[in-house]
Protein backbone atom coordinates (compact mmCIF):
# COMPACT_ATOMS: atom_id res chain seq x y z
CA UNK A 1 0.00 0.00 0.00
CA UNK A 2 1.21 3.49 -0.82
CA UNK A 3 0.04 6.03 1.73
CA UNK A 4 0.26 9.82 1.50
CA UNK A 5 -1.71 12.51 3.36
CA UNK A 6 -4.14 12.97 0.48
CA UNK A 7 -4.57 9.50 -0.96
CA UNK A 8 -3.74 5.79 -0.69
CA UNK A 9 -3.01 3.24 -3.39
CA UNK A 10 -3.91 -0.38 -2.54
CA UNK A 11 -2.82 -3.31 -4.73
CA UNK A 12 -5.77 -5.71 -4.45
CA UNK A 13 -4.93 -9.26 -5.47
CA UNK A 14 -2.79 -9.36 -8.60
CA UNK A 15 -5.12 -7.56 -10.99
CA UNK A 16 -6.67 -4.53 -9.26
CA UNK A 17 -5.39 -1.21 -7.92
CA UNK A 18 -7.52 1.02 -5.70
CA UNK A 19 -6.90 4.78 -5.58
CA UNK A 20 -8.61 5.98 -2.41
CA UNK A 21 -8.97 9.64 -1.40
CA UNK A 22 -10.35 8.64 2.01
CA UNK A 23 -13.53 7.68 3.76
CA UNK A 24 -15.15 11.09 3.34
CA UNK A 25 -17.59 11.90 0.56
CA UNK A 26 -16.55 15.14 -1.16
CA UNK A 27 -17.13 16.72 -4.56
CA UNK A 28 -13.39 17.40 -4.64
CA UNK A 29 -12.42 13.73 -4.27
CA UNK A 30 -15.17 12.57 -6.64
CA UNK A 31 -14.06 14.92 -9.41
CA UNK A 32 -10.38 14.04 -8.89
CA UNK A 33 -11.20 10.33 -9.26
CA UNK A 34 -12.98 11.06 -12.54
CA UNK A 35 -10.07 13.23 -13.73
CA UNK A 36 -7.56 10.45 -12.96
CA UNK A 37 -9.71 8.03 -14.98
CA UNK A 38 -9.79 10.48 -17.89
CA UNK A 39 -6.00 10.99 -17.87
CA UNK A 40 -5.32 7.26 -17.52
CA UNK A 41 -7.69 6.54 -20.43
CA UNK A 42 -5.83 9.10 -22.56
CA UNK A 43 -2.56 7.22 -21.94
CA UNK A 44 -4.12 4.27 -23.76
CA UNK A 45 -2.05 1.70 -21.85
CA UNK A 46 -2.41 -1.86 -23.11
CA UNK A 47 -3.79 -4.08 -20.38
CA UNK A 48 -5.94 -1.60 -18.46
CA UNK A 49 -9.34 -3.29 -18.52
CA UNK A 50 -11.66 -1.08 -16.49
CA UNK A 51 -11.69 1.93 -14.21
CA UNK A 52 -14.56 2.30 -11.71
CA UNK A 53 -14.91 5.80 -10.24
CA UNK A 54 -17.00 5.66 -7.07
CA UNK A 55 -17.42 8.52 -4.60
CA UNK A 56 -13.89 9.25 -3.38
CA UNK A 57 -12.13 6.37 -5.12
CA UNK A 58 -11.12 4.82 -8.43
CA UNK A 59 -10.71 1.05 -8.86
CA UNK A 60 -8.46 0.07 -11.77
CA UNK A 61 -8.66 -3.47 -13.16
CA UNK A 62 -5.76 -4.63 -15.30
CA UNK A 63 -4.37 -7.74 -17.01
CA UNK A 64 -0.99 -8.52 -15.39
CA UNK A 65 -0.02 -10.61 -18.44
CA UNK A 66 -0.08 -7.38 -20.49
CA UNK A 67 1.00 -4.76 -17.97
CA UNK A 68 2.89 -5.42 -14.75
CA UNK A 69 1.51 -4.29 -11.40
CA UNK A 70 4.46 -2.03 -10.59
CA UNK A 71 4.01 -0.20 -13.92
CA UNK A 72 0.31 0.37 -13.25
CA UNK A 73 1.19 1.73 -9.79
CA UNK A 74 3.88 4.04 -11.23
CA UNK A 75 1.67 5.35 -14.04
CA UNK A 76 -1.30 5.91 -11.74
CA UNK A 77 0.75 7.61 -9.05
CA UNK A 78 2.27 9.96 -11.63
CA UNK A 79 -1.21 10.97 -12.80
CA UNK A 80 -2.53 11.32 -9.24
CA UNK A 81 0.33 13.67 -8.35
CA UNK A 82 -0.35 15.67 -11.53
CA UNK A 83 -3.98 16.03 -10.48
CA UNK A 84 -2.97 17.00 -6.90
CA UNK A 85 -0.85 19.84 -8.31
CA UNK A 86 -3.41 20.91 -10.87
CA UNK A 87 -5.20 24.12 -9.96
CA UNK A 88 -7.59 23.85 -12.89
CA UNK A 89 -9.29 20.46 -12.59
CA UNK A 90 -12.00 20.30 -15.25
CA UNK A 91 -14.03 17.31 -16.38
CA UNK A 92 -16.54 17.05 -19.18
CA UNK A 93 -19.95 17.04 -17.51
CA UNK A 94 -23.20 17.13 -19.48
CA UNK A 95 -26.27 18.58 -17.83
CA UNK A 96 -29.23 16.20 -18.18
CA UNK A 97 -32.74 17.26 -17.25
CA UNK A 98 -34.50 14.37 -15.48
CA UNK A 99 -38.32 14.56 -15.23
CA UNK A 100 -39.50 13.18 -11.86
CA UNK A 101 -43.06 12.36 -10.77
CA UNK A 102 -42.78 13.11 -7.05
CA UNK A 103 -44.79 11.08 -4.47
CA UNK A 104 -46.07 8.79 -7.23
CA UNK A 105 -48.54 5.95 -6.64
CA UNK A 106 -46.16 3.11 -7.61
CA UNK A 107 -43.50 3.80 -4.99
CA UNK A 108 -46.31 4.48 -2.52
CA UNK A 109 -47.67 0.98 -3.20
CA UNK A 110 -44.21 -0.57 -2.83
CA UNK A 111 -43.78 1.14 0.55
CA UNK A 112 -47.21 -0.05 1.71
CA UNK A 113 -46.19 -3.60 0.74
CA UNK A 114 -42.96 -3.28 2.73
CA UNK A 115 -44.94 -2.06 5.76
CA UNK A 116 -47.32 -5.00 5.45
CA UNK A 117 -44.71 -7.73 4.84
CA UNK A 118 -41.47 -6.57 6.44
CA UNK A 119 -41.72 -3.73 8.93
CA UNK A 120 -43.93 -0.75 9.63
CA UNK A 121 -42.34 2.57 8.68
CA UNK A 122 -43.43 6.12 7.87
CA UNK A 123 -44.12 6.97 4.20
CA UNK A 124 -40.71 7.72 2.67
CA UNK A 125 -41.64 11.21 1.42
CA UNK A 126 -42.98 12.23 4.86
CA UNK A 127 -39.87 10.73 6.45
CA UNK A 128 -37.53 12.82 4.27
CA UNK A 129 -39.59 15.97 4.91
CA UNK A 130 -39.64 15.45 8.67
CA UNK A 131 -35.97 14.47 8.96
CA UNK A 132 -34.81 17.60 7.14
CA UNK A 133 -37.16 20.07 8.85
CA UNK A 134 -38.96 20.85 5.59
CA UNK A 135 -42.50 22.26 5.48
CA UNK A 136 -44.22 20.02 2.97
CA UNK A 137 -43.93 18.17 -0.36
CA UNK A 138 -43.66 21.46 -2.29
CA UNK A 139 -40.61 22.41 -0.26
CA UNK A 140 -39.06 18.96 -0.83
CA UNK A 141 -39.63 19.40 -4.56
CA UNK A 142 -38.01 22.84 -4.42
CA UNK A 143 -34.99 21.43 -2.56
CA UNK A 144 -34.48 18.56 -5.02
CA UNK A 145 -35.14 20.48 -8.24
CA UNK A 146 -33.20 23.70 -7.56
CA UNK A 147 -29.57 22.50 -7.32
CA UNK A 148 -27.67 20.28 -9.73
CA UNK A 149 -26.60 16.80 -8.65
CA UNK A 150 -23.32 15.32 -9.89
CA UNK A 151 -23.17 11.60 -10.81
CA UNK A 152 -20.36 10.09 -8.73
CA UNK A 153 -20.84 6.45 -9.71
CA UNK A 154 -22.75 4.13 -12.02
CA UNK A 155 -21.57 0.80 -10.69
CA UNK A 156 -24.09 -0.28 -8.06
CA UNK A 157 -26.27 -1.94 -10.69
CA UNK A 158 -26.48 -1.94 -14.49
CA UNK A 159 -26.76 1.72 -15.54
CA UNK A 160 -27.65 2.82 -12.00
CA UNK A 161 -26.57 6.45 -11.38
CA UNK A 162 -25.84 7.65 -7.87
CA UNK A 163 -25.46 11.42 -7.40
CA UNK A 164 -24.54 14.05 -4.82
CA UNK A 165 -25.99 17.55 -4.35
CA UNK A 166 -23.71 20.32 -5.58
CA UNK A 167 -25.27 23.10 -3.48
CA UNK A 168 -24.89 22.69 0.31
CA UNK A 169 -27.86 25.08 0.81
CA UNK A 170 -30.13 22.36 -0.58
CA UNK A 171 -28.35 19.28 0.75
CA UNK A 172 -30.68 16.69 2.29
CA UNK A 173 -29.83 13.70 4.44
CA UNK A 174 -31.86 10.67 5.46
CA UNK A 175 -31.09 7.22 6.92
CA UNK A 176 -31.57 4.16 4.72
CA UNK A 177 -34.15 1.41 5.18
CA UNK A 178 -33.32 -1.12 7.87
CA UNK A 179 -33.67 -3.87 6.79
CA UNK A 180 -33.38 -2.99 3.08
CA UNK A 181 -36.19 -3.73 0.61
CA UNK A 182 -35.94 -6.90 -1.47
CA UNK A 183 -37.27 -5.02 -4.50
CA UNK A 184 -37.74 -1.50 -5.82
CA UNK A 185 -40.13 -0.44 -8.62
CA UNK A 186 -38.18 0.14 -11.86
CA UNK A 187 -37.23 3.81 -12.36
CA UNK A 188 -37.80 4.71 -8.70
CA UNK A 189 -35.68 7.58 -7.37
CA UNK A 190 -34.56 7.48 -3.75
CA UNK A 191 -32.39 9.18 -1.18
CA UNK A 192 -30.00 7.49 1.26
CA UNK A 193 -27.43 9.24 3.43
CA UNK A 194 -26.68 12.32 1.34
CA UNK A 195 -26.89 10.58 -2.03
CA UNK A 196 -29.70 10.19 -4.54
CA UNK A 197 -29.90 6.95 -6.53
CA UNK A 198 -32.03 6.24 -9.58
CA UNK A 199 -32.97 2.58 -10.15
CA UNK A 200 -33.19 1.72 -13.89
CA UNK A 201 -34.44 -1.83 -13.40
CA UNK A 202 -35.61 -1.97 -9.84
CA UNK A 203 -33.51 -4.11 -7.55
CA UNK A 204 -33.14 -4.64 -3.81
CA UNK A 205 -32.35 -1.33 -2.16
CA UNK A 206 -32.39 0.76 0.95
CA UNK A 207 -32.91 4.33 -0.22
CA UNK A 208 -36.03 6.33 0.79
CA UNK A 209 -38.12 6.52 -2.40
CA UNK A 210 -39.56 9.94 -3.21
CA UNK A 211 -40.68 9.57 -6.79
CA UNK A 212 -40.48 7.77 -10.10
CA UNK A 213 -38.96 8.59 -13.48
CA UNK A 214 -40.87 8.31 -16.71
CA UNK A 215 -38.10 7.87 -19.28
CA UNK A 216 -35.54 5.04 -19.11
CA UNK A 217 -32.01 5.29 -17.70
CA UNK A 218 -31.01 1.99 -19.29
CA UNK A 219 -32.23 0.85 -22.68
CA UNK A 220 -30.75 -2.51 -23.65
CA UNK A 221 -32.42 -2.49 -27.08
CA UNK A 222 -30.89 0.93 -27.80
CA UNK A 223 -33.86 2.22 -29.83
CA UNK A 224 -34.18 5.75 -28.38
CA UNK A 225 -31.94 8.54 -29.70
CA UNK A 226 -30.04 9.06 -26.42
CA UNK A 227 -29.13 5.37 -26.23
CA UNK A 228 -27.92 4.82 -29.76
CA UNK A 229 -24.23 4.61 -28.76
CA UNK A 230 -24.59 2.95 -25.34
CA UNK A 231 -27.47 1.33 -23.41
CA UNK A 232 -26.65 3.50 -20.37
CA UNK A 233 -27.88 7.13 -20.32
CA UNK A 234 -25.64 8.66 -17.64
CA UNK A 235 -21.88 9.06 -17.43
CA UNK A 236 -19.92 9.55 -14.22
CA UNK A 237 -19.39 13.30 -13.90
CA UNK A 238 -22.67 14.25 -15.61
CA UNK A 239 -24.97 16.58 -13.70
CA UNK A 240 -28.68 15.95 -13.23
CA UNK A 241 -31.22 18.77 -13.07
CA UNK A 242 -34.40 17.24 -11.71
CA UNK A 243 -37.73 18.66 -12.89
CA UNK A 244 -41.07 17.89 -11.23
CA UNK A 245 -43.78 16.55 -13.55
CA UNK A 246 -47.39 15.63 -12.96
CA UNK A 247 -49.34 12.52 -13.90
CA UNK A 248 -50.38 13.73 -17.41
CA UNK A 249 -46.80 14.53 -18.45
CA UNK A 250 -45.62 11.23 -16.92
CA UNK A 251 -47.86 9.34 -19.36
CA UNK A 252 -47.02 11.65 -22.29
CA UNK A 253 -43.32 10.85 -21.83
CA UNK A 254 -44.09 7.14 -21.52
CA UNK A 255 -46.01 7.27 -24.81
CA UNK A 256 -43.17 9.13 -26.54
CA UNK A 257 -40.73 6.46 -25.30
CA UNK A 258 -42.97 3.68 -26.58
CA UNK A 259 -43.23 5.48 -29.94
CA UNK A 260 -39.44 5.77 -30.02
CA UNK A 261 -39.46 9.56 -30.27
CA UNK A 262 -38.50 10.66 -26.75
CA UNK A 263 -35.30 12.67 -26.32
CA UNK A 264 -33.82 13.93 -23.06
CA UNK A 265 -32.77 17.57 -22.76
CA UNK A 266 -28.96 17.23 -22.59
CA UNK A 267 -26.49 20.13 -22.63
CA UNK A 268 -22.79 19.52 -23.24
CA UNK A 269 -20.75 21.26 -20.61
CA UNK A 270 -17.74 21.14 -18.33
CA UNK A 271 -17.40 21.07 -14.56
CA UNK A 272 -14.58 23.29 -13.31
CA UNK A 273 -13.63 22.38 -9.74
CA UNK A 274 -11.79 25.64 -8.98
CA UNK A 275 -14.75 27.75 -10.17
CA UNK A 276 -17.11 25.54 -8.15
CA UNK A 277 -15.02 25.94 -4.98
CA UNK A 278 -14.78 29.71 -5.52
CA UNK A 279 -18.56 30.00 -5.87
CA UNK A 280 -19.04 27.93 -2.70
CA UNK A 281 -16.71 30.14 -0.69
CA UNK A 282 -18.11 33.39 -2.05
Amino acid sequence: MIRTTNYRLYMCGDANLLLDYGQVRSIQAGVKSIMVKRLLTDKNLQGIIDMIPCNSSLLITFEPRQIQAHIVIAQVQKIVEEVENNEQIRISSRIIEIPVYFADPWTKAAIAKYCKNIKEKPYDVDFIIERNGLKDLDELIRYVTTPQYIVTYLSFGPGLPSCTCLDPKYALHVPKYNPPRTSTPPLAIGMGGSNISLYPLGSPGGFQMFGILSAPLLELNQKLFDFRKTPVLARVGDRFQFRAIGRPEYFEIKDACKAGTYRYKITDSEFNLAEYNAKLNA
Binding site: M11, C12, G13, D14, Q23, R25, P53, S57, P158, T230
Partner: protein, 323 residues
Amino acid sequence: MFKVIKKGLLTTVQDVKGRRGVTYMGFPTSGAMDDLALTIGNLLVGNDTNEAGIEYAFCGPELQFFDDALIAVTGMQIKLLVNDVEYPMWQSIAVRKGQKLKIVPESFIGQWGYIAIAGGIDVPEYMGSKATFTFCEIGGFKGRELMGGDEIPVGEPAPHAAEGKKLKKCYIPAVTSPMVIELMPGYYLDFLTKKDIKQIFNSNWKIEFNSSRSGYRVSGPHIEFSDKARNKGEEAGSDPSNILDTGYPTYALNMCGDTSIILTKESVCAGGYFCPFCIPLGAQWKVGQSRIGTEIQFKLISMEEADRLREEVDGYLREDHYE
Protein backbone atom coordinates in the same frame (compact mmCIF):
# COMPACT_ATOMS: atom_id res chain seq x y z
CA MET B 1 -26.74 -27.16 -34.60
CA PHE B 2 -27.92 -29.11 -31.58
CA LYS B 3 -31.20 -29.37 -29.72
CA VAL B 4 -31.67 -29.29 -25.94
CA ILE B 5 -33.54 -32.45 -24.90
CA LYS B 6 -33.19 -31.95 -21.13
CA LYS B 7 -32.02 -28.57 -19.86
CA GLY B 8 -29.98 -29.66 -16.82
CA LEU B 9 -29.40 -27.09 -14.09
CA LEU B 10 -28.35 -23.44 -14.47
CA THR B 11 -27.37 -24.19 -18.06
CA THR B 12 -26.26 -21.10 -20.00
CA VAL B 13 -23.94 -20.07 -22.81
CA GLN B 14 -20.76 -18.59 -21.33
CA ASP B 15 -17.39 -17.59 -22.72
CA VAL B 16 -14.17 -17.42 -20.70
CA LYS B 17 -13.43 -13.71 -20.26
CA GLY B 18 -16.97 -12.30 -20.17
CA ARG B 19 -17.75 -8.64 -20.73
CA ARG B 20 -14.72 -6.39 -20.31
CA GLY B 21 -14.55 -2.69 -19.54
CA VAL B 22 -18.19 -2.30 -18.51
CA THR B 23 -18.08 -2.84 -14.75
CA TYR B 24 -17.93 0.94 -14.31
CA MET B 25 -21.49 1.02 -15.74
CA GLY B 26 -22.62 -1.67 -13.29
CA PHE B 27 -22.47 -4.60 -15.72
CA PRO B 28 -20.61 -7.54 -14.15
CA THR B 29 -18.25 -9.49 -16.39
CA SER B 30 -20.29 -12.75 -16.48
CA GLY B 31 -18.37 -15.60 -18.13
CA ALA B 32 -17.45 -19.11 -16.95
CA MET B 33 -17.36 -19.83 -13.21
CA ASP B 34 -14.38 -22.12 -13.91
CA ASP B 35 -12.48 -20.20 -16.55
CA LEU B 36 -9.69 -22.79 -16.63
CA ALA B 37 -12.03 -25.70 -17.41
CA LEU B 38 -13.69 -23.90 -20.34
CA THR B 39 -10.29 -22.75 -21.65
CA ILE B 40 -9.08 -26.36 -21.65
CA GLY B 41 -12.31 -27.53 -23.32
CA ASN B 42 -11.82 -24.95 -26.08
CA LEU B 43 -8.23 -26.01 -26.64
CA LEU B 44 -9.27 -29.68 -26.85
CA VAL B 45 -11.68 -28.93 -29.71
CA GLY B 46 -9.39 -26.49 -31.54
CA ASN B 47 -11.37 -23.35 -30.59
CA ASP B 48 -10.08 -19.91 -29.74
CA THR B 49 -9.42 -20.04 -25.95
CA ASN B 50 -12.16 -17.47 -25.21
CA GLU B 51 -14.86 -19.17 -27.32
CA ALA B 52 -18.35 -19.65 -25.89
CA GLY B 53 -19.45 -23.05 -24.62
CA ILE B 54 -22.24 -24.47 -22.48
CA GLU B 55 -21.96 -24.10 -18.70
CA TYR B 56 -24.04 -26.07 -16.20
CA ALA B 57 -24.00 -26.81 -12.47
CA PHE B 58 -24.52 -30.19 -10.74
CA CYS B 59 -26.69 -31.66 -13.45
CA GLY B 60 -25.73 -31.38 -17.09
CA PRO B 61 -28.09 -31.07 -20.06
CA GLU B 62 -28.96 -33.74 -22.59
CA LEU B 63 -28.31 -32.59 -26.14
CA GLN B 64 -29.06 -34.06 -29.55
CA PHE B 65 -26.80 -33.08 -32.43
CA PHE B 66 -28.23 -32.31 -35.87
CA ASP B 67 -24.77 -32.32 -37.46
CA ASP B 68 -21.49 -34.14 -36.87
CA ALA B 69 -19.70 -32.30 -34.05
CA LEU B 70 -16.50 -32.41 -32.05
CA ILE B 71 -17.05 -31.88 -28.31
CA ALA B 72 -15.16 -31.98 -25.01
CA VAL B 73 -16.53 -32.03 -21.48
CA THR B 74 -14.45 -30.47 -18.70
CA GLY B 75 -14.83 -29.14 -15.16
CA MET B 76 -17.02 -30.91 -12.61
CA GLN B 77 -16.53 -34.68 -12.46
CA ILE B 78 -19.43 -36.42 -14.26
CA LYS B 79 -20.18 -39.47 -16.41
CA LEU B 80 -20.34 -38.63 -20.13
CA LEU B 81 -22.46 -40.75 -22.45
CA VAL B 82 -22.67 -40.37 -26.23
CA ASN B 83 -25.47 -42.54 -27.54
CA ASP B 84 -25.40 -44.38 -24.19
CA VAL B 85 -21.70 -45.31 -24.58
CA GLU B 86 -19.43 -43.91 -21.87
CA TYR B 87 -16.61 -41.59 -22.91
CA PRO B 88 -13.92 -39.88 -20.82
CA MET B 89 -13.89 -36.22 -19.81
CA TRP B 90 -10.99 -33.90 -20.75
CA GLN B 91 -10.82 -35.26 -24.28
CA SER B 92 -12.17 -34.29 -27.72
CA ILE B 93 -14.86 -36.70 -28.88
CA ALA B 94 -16.64 -37.00 -32.22
CA VAL B 95 -20.43 -36.98 -32.02
CA ARG B 96 -22.25 -38.12 -35.17
CA LYS B 97 -25.34 -36.46 -36.61
CA GLY B 98 -28.42 -37.63 -34.72
CA GLN B 99 -26.52 -38.83 -31.64
CA LYS B 100 -27.35 -37.73 -28.10
CA LEU B 101 -24.96 -36.45 -25.47
CA LYS B 102 -25.97 -37.15 -21.90
CA ILE B 103 -24.29 -35.91 -18.73
CA VAL B 104 -24.92 -37.97 -15.62
CA PRO B 105 -23.97 -36.74 -12.13
CA GLU B 106 -21.43 -39.16 -10.75
CA SER B 107 -19.83 -37.79 -7.62
CA PHE B 108 -20.09 -34.78 -5.37
CA ILE B 109 -16.80 -33.47 -6.65
CA GLY B 110 -16.83 -29.96 -8.10
CA GLN B 111 -19.82 -27.94 -9.24
CA TRP B 112 -19.57 -26.19 -12.61
CA GLY B 113 -19.11 -28.19 -15.81
CA TYR B 114 -18.54 -27.31 -19.45
CA ILE B 115 -19.35 -28.64 -22.89
CA ALA B 116 -17.01 -27.10 -25.47
CA ILE B 117 -18.02 -27.61 -29.10
CA ALA B 118 -15.69 -27.12 -32.05
CA GLY B 119 -16.78 -23.89 -33.75
CA GLY B 120 -18.18 -22.47 -30.55
CA ILE B 121 -21.76 -21.37 -29.90
CA ASP B 122 -22.97 -19.18 -32.76
CA VAL B 123 -24.93 -16.49 -30.89
CA PRO B 124 -24.48 -12.71 -31.21
CA GLU B 125 -22.27 -10.78 -28.81
CA TYR B 126 -23.75 -8.18 -26.50
CA MET B 127 -21.34 -5.46 -25.42
CA GLY B 128 -18.41 -7.45 -26.76
CA SER B 129 -19.18 -10.90 -25.30
CA LYS B 130 -21.37 -13.97 -25.84
CA ALA B 131 -21.58 -14.54 -22.07
CA THR B 132 -25.16 -14.73 -20.72
CA PHE B 133 -26.22 -12.21 -18.06
CA THR B 134 -29.67 -13.44 -17.07
CA PHE B 135 -30.55 -10.47 -14.83
CA CYS B 136 -30.55 -8.13 -17.84
CA GLU B 137 -31.47 -10.91 -20.31
CA ILE B 138 -28.47 -10.13 -22.50
CA GLY B 139 -25.92 -12.27 -24.27
CA GLY B 140 -25.91 -16.03 -24.69
CA PHE B 141 -28.97 -17.72 -26.17
CA LYS B 142 -31.81 -15.16 -25.84
CA GLY B 143 -30.25 -13.90 -22.60
CA ARG B 144 -31.55 -16.82 -20.55
CA GLU B 145 -30.92 -20.34 -19.27
CA LEU B 146 -31.37 -23.01 -21.91
CA MET B 147 -34.72 -24.82 -22.02
CA GLY B 148 -35.88 -28.10 -23.50
CA GLY B 149 -36.63 -27.62 -27.20
CA ASP B 150 -34.01 -24.87 -27.76
CA GLU B 151 -32.10 -25.27 -31.02
CA ILE B 152 -28.63 -23.81 -30.69
CA PRO B 153 -26.44 -22.97 -33.70
CA VAL B 154 -22.76 -23.91 -33.72
CA GLY B 155 -19.98 -22.09 -35.58
CA GLU B 156 -17.46 -23.41 -38.09
CA PRO B 157 -14.81 -25.68 -36.49
CA ALA B 158 -11.19 -24.66 -36.97
CA PRO B 159 -9.37 -26.70 -39.67
CA HIS B 160 -6.98 -28.18 -37.08
CA ALA B 161 -9.76 -29.40 -34.76
CA ALA B 162 -9.18 -33.12 -34.21
CA GLU B 163 -10.78 -36.06 -32.45
CA GLY B 164 -8.85 -37.76 -29.67
CA LYS B 165 -6.92 -34.79 -28.29
CA LYS B 166 -6.52 -35.44 -24.55
CA LEU B 167 -5.44 -33.41 -21.57
CA LYS B 168 -2.64 -35.43 -19.92
CA LYS B 169 -4.05 -37.05 -16.76
CA CYS B 170 -1.38 -35.46 -14.54
CA TYR B 171 -2.64 -32.01 -15.57
CA ILE B 172 -6.32 -32.50 -14.76
CA PRO B 173 -6.96 -29.58 -12.33
CA ALA B 174 -7.04 -31.01 -8.81
CA VAL B 175 -10.20 -30.68 -6.75
CA THR B 176 -9.42 -31.30 -3.10
CA SER B 177 -11.57 -31.50 -0.01
CA PRO B 178 -11.44 -28.96 1.48
CA MET B 179 -10.43 -26.79 -1.46
CA VAL B 180 -7.58 -24.45 -0.48
CA ILE B 181 -8.00 -21.05 -2.12
CA GLU B 182 -5.20 -18.51 -2.27
CA LEU B 183 -5.77 -14.93 -1.11
CA MET B 184 -3.77 -11.73 -1.36
CA PRO B 185 -4.34 -8.44 0.48
CA GLY B 186 -7.15 -6.18 -0.74
CA TYR B 187 -8.22 -2.86 0.78
CA TYR B 188 -8.89 -1.69 4.35
CA LEU B 189 -7.08 -4.70 5.75
CA ASP B 190 -6.53 -2.54 8.86
CA PHE B 191 -10.23 -2.98 9.71
CA LEU B 192 -9.19 -6.46 10.92
CA THR B 193 -7.25 -7.28 14.07
CA LYS B 194 -4.19 -9.55 13.98
CA LYS B 195 -6.36 -12.18 15.64
CA ASP B 196 -9.03 -11.81 12.93
CA ILE B 197 -6.43 -12.36 10.22
CA LYS B 198 -4.98 -15.39 11.99
CA GLN B 199 -8.49 -16.86 12.32
CA ILE B 200 -9.29 -16.25 8.65
CA PHE B 201 -6.32 -18.36 7.60
CA ASN B 202 -6.75 -21.05 10.24
CA SER B 203 -10.41 -21.86 9.89
CA ASN B 204 -12.64 -23.91 7.69
CA TRP B 205 -15.18 -21.79 5.85
CA LYS B 206 -18.49 -23.25 4.71
CA ILE B 207 -19.98 -22.35 1.35
CA GLU B 208 -23.61 -21.56 2.11
CA PHE B 209 -26.49 -22.81 -0.02
CA ASN B 210 -27.58 -19.32 -1.05
CA SER B 211 -24.50 -19.08 -3.26
CA SER B 212 -24.68 -18.52 -7.00
CA ARG B 213 -23.05 -16.79 -9.94
CA SER B 214 -23.87 -13.57 -8.05
CA GLY B 215 -21.57 -14.47 -5.21
CA TYR B 216 -20.54 -17.33 -2.94
CA ARG B 217 -21.61 -16.69 0.65
CA VAL B 218 -19.09 -18.17 3.05
CA SER B 219 -19.36 -18.59 6.81
CA GLY B 220 -16.20 -18.53 8.81
CA PRO B 221 -14.83 -17.38 12.16
CA HIS B 222 -16.35 -14.52 14.12
CA ILE B 223 -14.66 -11.23 13.18
CA GLU B 224 -13.77 -8.79 15.98
CA PHE B 225 -12.89 -5.77 13.82
CA SER B 226 -10.20 -3.29 14.83
CA ASP B 227 -10.66 0.02 16.61
CA LYS B 228 -10.13 1.73 13.28
CA ALA B 229 -13.18 -0.07 11.86
CA ARG B 230 -15.30 0.73 14.89
CA ASN B 231 -14.37 4.40 15.22
CA LYS B 232 -14.53 5.66 11.69
CA GLY B 233 -17.58 7.88 12.04
CA GLU B 234 -21.07 7.77 10.57
CA GLU B 235 -20.35 8.82 6.97
CA ALA B 236 -19.91 5.32 5.60
CA GLY B 237 -22.47 3.56 7.76
CA SER B 238 -22.89 2.20 11.26
CA ASP B 239 -21.44 -1.28 10.81
CA PRO B 240 -17.67 -1.73 11.35
CA SER B 241 -17.45 -3.40 7.94
CA ASN B 242 -19.12 -0.42 6.20
CA ILE B 243 -17.08 1.82 3.94
CA LEU B 244 -17.99 4.70 1.63
CA ASP B 245 -19.26 3.01 -1.53
CA THR B 246 -16.22 1.84 -3.48
CA GLY B 247 -15.60 -0.29 -6.57
CA TYR B 248 -15.41 -4.02 -5.86
CA PRO B 249 -12.59 -6.11 -7.43
CA THR B 250 -13.91 -9.37 -8.91
CA TYR B 251 -13.07 -12.36 -6.71
CA ALA B 252 -12.62 -10.18 -3.67
CA LEU B 253 -13.58 -11.57 -0.28
CA ASN B 254 -16.23 -8.99 0.62
CA MET B 255 -16.92 -8.82 4.35
CA CYS B 256 -20.31 -7.64 5.54
CA GLY B 257 -20.36 -7.93 9.31
CA ASP B 258 -20.20 -11.61 10.18
CA THR B 259 -21.03 -12.88 6.71
CA SER B 260 -18.62 -12.80 3.83
CA ILE B 261 -19.14 -13.16 0.11
CA ILE B 262 -16.64 -14.24 -2.52
CA LEU B 263 -17.57 -11.89 -5.36
CA THR B 264 -17.89 -13.97 -8.50
CA LYS B 265 -18.88 -13.50 -12.13
CA GLU B 266 -22.18 -11.66 -11.57
CA SER B 267 -21.68 -9.91 -8.26
CA VAL B 268 -22.46 -6.24 -7.78
CA CYS B 269 -19.61 -4.04 -9.05
CA ALA B 270 -19.46 -1.55 -6.17
CA GLY B 271 -20.88 -1.25 -2.70
CA GLY B 272 -20.48 -0.20 0.90
CA TYR B 273 -18.57 -3.09 2.49
CA PHE B 274 -14.82 -3.61 2.63
CA CYS B 275 -12.76 -6.15 0.67
CA PRO B 276 -9.74 -7.05 2.83
CA PHE B 277 -8.58 -9.88 0.55
CA CYS B 278 -8.71 -10.83 -3.13
CA ILE B 279 -8.30 -14.17 -4.91
CA PRO B 280 -5.52 -13.88 -7.51
CA LEU B 281 -6.22 -14.69 -11.19
CA GLY B 282 -4.49 -18.09 -11.09
CA ALA B 283 -6.71 -19.37 -8.24
CA GLN B 284 -10.14 -18.03 -9.30
CA TRP B 285 -11.12 -21.25 -11.11
CA LYS B 286 -11.01 -23.04 -7.74
CA VAL B 287 -14.14 -21.21 -6.60
CA GLY B 288 -15.93 -22.83 -9.53
CA GLN B 289 -15.08 -26.29 -8.21
CA SER B 290 -15.73 -25.56 -4.52
CA ARG B 291 -19.13 -27.16 -4.20
CA ILE B 292 -21.81 -25.37 -2.22
CA GLY B 293 -22.38 -27.04 1.14
CA THR B 294 -18.69 -28.02 1.38
CA GLU B 295 -15.83 -26.36 3.18
CA ILE B 296 -12.85 -24.38 1.92
CA GLN B 297 -9.71 -22.96 3.49
CA PHE B 298 -7.79 -19.82 2.64
CA LYS B 299 -4.05 -19.43 2.22
CA LEU B 300 -2.29 -16.06 2.17
CA ILE B 301 0.23 -15.71 -0.65
CA SER B 302 2.64 -13.13 -2.03
CA MET B 303 2.68 -11.40 -5.43
CA GLU B 304 5.51 -13.72 -6.53
CA GLU B 305 3.43 -16.79 -5.65
CA ALA B 306 0.45 -15.23 -7.48
CA ASP B 307 2.66 -14.79 -10.56
CA ARG B 308 3.63 -18.48 -10.34
CA LEU B 309 -0.02 -19.57 -10.01
CA ARG B 310 -0.88 -17.54 -13.09
CA GLU B 311 2.03 -19.11 -15.00
CA GLU B 312 0.78 -22.56 -13.96
CA VAL B 313 -2.67 -21.77 -15.36
CA ASP B 314 -1.13 -20.30 -18.53
CA GLY B 315 0.75 -23.61 -18.92
CA TYR B 316 -2.51 -25.11 -20.16
CA LEU B 317 -2.12 -23.08 -23.34
CA ARG B 318 0.99 -25.10 -24.21
CA GLU B 319 0.92 -28.29 -26.31
CA ASP B 320 3.05 -30.18 -23.74
CA HIS B 321 -0.06 -30.48 -21.51
CA TYR B 322 -1.87 -32.51 -24.19
CA GLU B 323 -1.46 -35.77 -26.11
